[in-house]
């Protein structure tokens, strides 16, 4: 963690966001801290460089041609009737077409490779089992449920370094979008549906997480901190939360779900086992309907039930 000059403002901002400390994003275009964000950024840079082959000539040629053929420059040729050249025609259609063809192949392969629903680390024998986290978007805060550890946190996400994380997202209000710029791109969270996002932190550190989909006056304050810690620290943290965290039952959840920006992050050592399922099911008319929609949606991705 970089507790340097940013420490002061982090404390100040904490009161407005209700966080212990907001990590600064100091460096511009800060480096990725995980494989997903790294691959996405690499793709961004590659495509941008490739596009320069079309863009730079325009930026150079436009002023140059305009100036070279200015009216006062009588030394340059004037062909008022010239309006077609087969060679140029092939070039100006061909070069962009080739670029797009190349990019199209990249889009096809990379969209699949970086599909947020695609398990990372799959097939690696050495990899630890992925950590499942259920995410609930609320107004204006994020609730994270660790189903296997039976704990939950509000506005803090603690992750073990080097282990794949499988997020299952829903919303108990309007549409929201979860983004941790240094770990992975975003995915929407929508009521009554479950979306997924895989990510992994490859280095310890504190990273900003946020909602990017406007959802009312507390929107800008809907931030949280991702703490990536090593496996030992993660397990100790689980134990600590279990020991001294609050109880998250239906009543407490109703309080959390009310509109508002929380004063501070919270930790829950006991969580109702099917809380996440009930939040999703709330938006489906009856248990019967729910079963049938879940079944039909198991094939569709956006809503596939966990």
């Amino acid at each position: 963690m970089q507790h340097t000059a940013t420490e002061g403002h982090a404390k100040r901002s904490a009161s407005r966001v209700g966080l212990a400390a907001m990590p600064a994003r100091a460096a511009i275009f800060a480096v990725a801290a995980g494989p997903v964000a790294a691959a996405e950024r690499q793709l961004l840079v590659q495509a941008a460089v490739l596009m320069l082959f079309v863009v730079v000539p325009v930026i150079v040629l436009t002023p140059w041609v305009a100036w070279r053929f200015r009216r006062r420059n009588r030394r340059s040729a004037y062909r008022p009737g010239w309006d077609f050249s087969r060679v140029l025609e092939v070039l100006i259609w061909g070069v962009p077409a080739l670029l797009v063809a190349f990019l199209a192949v990249r889009v096809w392969t990379q969209s699949r490779a970086l599909d947020p629903y695609r398990a990372i680390d799959a097939g690696q024998a050495s990899a630890a089992a992925p950590l499942d986290v259920q995410v609930v978007g609320l107004d204006w805060k994020w609730l994270f449920i660790y189903p296997d550890q039976h704990i939950a946190t509000l506005n803090t996400l603690v992750l073990p370094v080097g282990r794949a994380v499988h997020l299952h997202l829903t919303s108990d209000t309007v549409m929201e979008s979860l983004l941790v710029p240094r770990l992975a791109g975003q995915i929407y969270a929508m009521p009554g549906m479950i979306t997924q996002l895989w990510l992994r932190a490859d280095r310890p550190g504190d990273f900003v997480g946020e909602n990017t989909q406007y959802n009312g006056s507390g929107f800008a304050q809907q931030k949280f901190v991702v703490h990536a810690v090593d496996a030992g620290d993660f397990n100790r943290w689980i134990g600590k939360v279990r020991a001294d965290g609050d109880v998250l039952d239906a009543r407490r959840y109703r309080e959390l779900a009310r509109r508002g920006v929380p004063a501070a992050p919270e930790r829950f050592g006991q969580v109702d086992a099917d809380l996440f399922g009930r939040i999703v099911a709330k938006y489906h008319a009856s248990a019967q309907v729910r079963a049938s929609t879940m079944a039909s949606r198991a094939t569709g991705r956006t809503n596939d039930a966990h």
Binding site: A30, Y78, I92, Q110, L179, G185, T212, Y214, N215, G216
Partner: protein, 686 residues
């Protein structure tokens, strides 16, 4: 309190608490709006001009007058939306680790009105106005196919704009953004009247635009002068045609989306609600099924304008005419195949995302072709750096940067990173400001002398140009950086000290853009004051190439005493070079023109009343408004309107007067294009 209680049943939910008294900034804005309206109304009353305005303008069905009214509406709304942009930029620069000078709620209204106005009440009226004015003249027609419908479209759009202006005083407006995403805009999450303002303002404008699209397309198909084949049309007419087709097919999707949202809100239905069987994803699909073609609706006419500019100010044929037509058509068709790229992040399969990403990139090909066609148009030409051309050059250089970021956003995994951030905001402003606004401002500078008979001052035009272009780069390049860092768009507050310098630069850019607006106003004022110096009544100040320049400036109400016979592209340019540009006086035939009609303003007023009644749940007003619309439309269809004849003597008088101007004018070489010697008669010998 008692007054409000009494008023209750008559005024629905409306009460004094609608005044935005809680915020000094909002109150100030409301005050400026009210004083502005009172000031203008007072001035008109003082000058005794109401009758003149009603007879000559509001009830006019002349495409030229309607075009001018559209552009005036666009400029007024542009002024408001630019100021809102400045307030938002100042807020973000101020609100780093503190709450800033306006509330989050107010900030939400600002980005919603800014976006809605810029698209529906700035870009759309601007391009509709320019097409209205120019297209019939370019194809050698006397008016559009349905002149009265044209007036109705204008008045419906104006009613929508008026509703947005009213929301400044009787607040609040929606905080749902210009796209109004459900379920945030559903009653459960946005219980106030704000979303209703948005729904009805947008609905009025979308109906107006659908009718406009039909009107323009039919005009281009049916009203071209003899010999004006489709492939002889100036490129601007081609882009007008493509835009019209897009309007016809895209606008109804929006009308349906807002109508279904209204059913949810007013009648408790569940199209887009969370729960109750609703599906919010359907809203996103419907909205962008309109929203993406909309991008091309607002950008294509500018492409047409630039095609005219580069050719005219290079004194050279447009390079690759056929290529440009094909590219325009390709863009129009492809624009319906890419809407999903607005929500790559909604969780559909990678294959679907990839397909839409590739479709999006395909649009880059014809767009790239266009850019190179324009550069090649200048190649081996004789380029004159007039103000309209400067906007064109700035457009080329700036637009390709937006194209680059557009290609990046079309790659789904890249989009995951920067979607919903200021990178996206930078991207679409990078397309729409050069692509739409620069084109429209250039069009305004280029055709102003045609419409009013005098040129705009070059010097203030250049000042405005400098402010806008530099302001644009300062305001939006930092947003790319901030977006890459993950700063969400629509943030009323910012929590990262490192963002502050970038936000300050962006705010500085916004200040420059506002100065650019002021310079445009100054240019207009100075040009009116010195109009005698800049008169170009002979009609052809730029050595123009298409038929609109073959008329006097301003053109007579019937446009052409005799419909021109067209023998090829660049019709007027060829006529000038072969000495057939100004046919001698002869015997004229009487000309039939449509009569003025009050049905347009009437429907606009009734539409506004209906919408206002619906917003505030004032049943009688909404009911009477709706009934009024029905009665007016049905009643009007029974009225026989034979039209009005301009008799041959009157035509002859007008034409004789113009010929006197032509004879008196000294042909001017391009050397003196921008000085008082230019009286609108081009010297074609050189």
């Amino acid at each position: 309190m008692r007054i409000e209680a009494l008023a209750g049943p008559w005024l629905g939910r409306l009460s004094l608490s609608a005044l935005p008294t809680d915020s000094p900034v909002a109150m100030g804005a409301a005050l400026v709006a009210v004083l502005g309206v009172l000031g203008v109304a007072g001035y008109i009353t003082g000058k005794g001009k109401w009758r003149y305005l009603w007879r000559e303008w509001f009830t006019s069905v002349d495409h030229k007058r309607i075009g001018i009214m559209y552009v005036v509406l666009a400029l007024v709304m542009l002024a408001r939306a630019v100021i809102e942009a400045l307030v938002m930029r100042l807020q973000q620069a101020d609100a780093v680790n503190r709450s800033g000078f306006i509330s989050a709620e107010h900030f939400g209204q600002l980005f919603s009105t800014h976006g809605s106005i810029m698209i529906f009440f700035m870009a759309m009226p601007f391009l509709t106005g320019v097409i209205n004015y120019v297209m019939p003249l370019q194809i050698g027609a006397r008016d559009v196919s349905f002149p009265v419908l044209n007036s109705i479209s204008l008045m419906l759009t104006a009613a929508g704009a008026a509703l947005v202006m009213i929301s400044l005083v009787l607040a609040p407006f929606s905080t749902g953004g210009w796209s109004g995403y459900a379920p945030f805009t559903e009653l459960r999450f946005s219980p106030g009247v704000g979303v209703d303002y948005w729904i009805w303002a947008v609905t009025l404008s979308s109906i107006g635009s659908t009718l406009t699209g039909i009107n323009f397309a039919v005009t281009i198909y049916k009203k071209r002068a003899p010999g004006m084949h489709l492939f002889r049309m100036p490129l601007f007419c081609w882009t007008a045609l493509c835009t019209s087709i897009l309007m016809i097919f895209a606008m109804p999707a929006l009308t349906v989306a807002t109508a279904l949202l209204a059913l949810d809100r007013y009648l408790g239905m569940h199209f887009f609600t969370s729960g109750g069987g609703g599906n919010m994803m359907v809203y996103a699909n419907l909205f962008w099924l309109f929203g993406h073609p909309e991008v091309y609706i607002v950008v294509l006419p500018s492409f047409g304008v630039f095609s005219e500019l580069f050719s005219t100010f290079s004194a050279k044929k447009l390079y690759g005419y056929t290529s440009l037509v094909l590219a325009t058509m390709t863009i129009a068709v492809l624009s319906f195949t890419v809407w999903l790229h607005h929500f790559f992040t909604m969780g559909q399969s990678a294959n679907i995302n990839a397909a839409f990403g590739i479709a999006t990139m395909l649009i880059g090909i014809p767009t790239g072709v266009k850019v190179y066609d324009w550069i090649l148009t200048m190649f081996r030409g004789r380029v004159r750096f007039t103000t309209p051309l400067l906007w064109g050059l700035a457009f080329l250089v700036t637009f390709v940067i937006g194209g680059l970021s557009g290609i990046l956003l079309a790659i789904p995994p890249v989009d995951f990173l920067v979607h919903n951030t200021t990178f996206l905001v930078a991207h679409f402003h990078n397309m729409l400001i050069p692509g739409t606004l620069f084109g429209m401002i250039a069009a305004y500078q280029f055709w102003f002398p045609k419409a009013f008979g005098f040129r705009l001052e070059e010097r203030w035009g250049r000042v405005a140009f400098g402010c806008w272009v530099i302001g644009f780069y300062l305001a939006f390049m930092p947003l790319y950086v901030l977006g890459l860092e993950g700063m969400p768009r629509r943030s009323a507050e910012v929590f990262d000290e490192a963002f502050r310098p970038w936000l300050l630069v962006a705010a500085g850019g916004a200040v420059l853009i506002v100065l650019g607006m002021a310079a445009l106003a100054m240019q207009l004022a100075m040009s009116i004051r010195h109009r005698d110096r800049n008169r170009v009544r002979a009609g052809d100040p730029w050595d123009g190439r298409s038929l609109e320049w073959s008329t006097s400036s301003p053109p007579p109400e019937y446009n052409f005493a005799k419909l021109p016979a067209v023998q090829g592209r660049d019709a007027f340019w060829t006529m000038k070079r072969s000495g057939r540009a100004y046919p001698p006086l002869e015997r004229y035939a009487p000309i039939m023109l449509p009569e003025n009609s009050a049905i347009g303003p009437l429907l606009g007023a009734l539409g506004l009343a209906t919408a206002f009644g619906l917003v505030w749940r004032i049943g009688w007003m909404a009911g009477l408004g709706t009934a009024g619309v029905l009665v007016a439309v049905i009643g009007w269809s029974f009225v026989r309107r034979p039209g009005r004849t301009v008799d041959e003597r009157q035509v002859e008088r007008t034409e004789t007067r113009w010929h006197a101007v032509l004879v008196a004018a000294v042909p001017v070489s391009r050397e003196h294009e921008c000085d008082p010697r230019n009286r609108g008669l081009a010297d074609v010998a050189a």
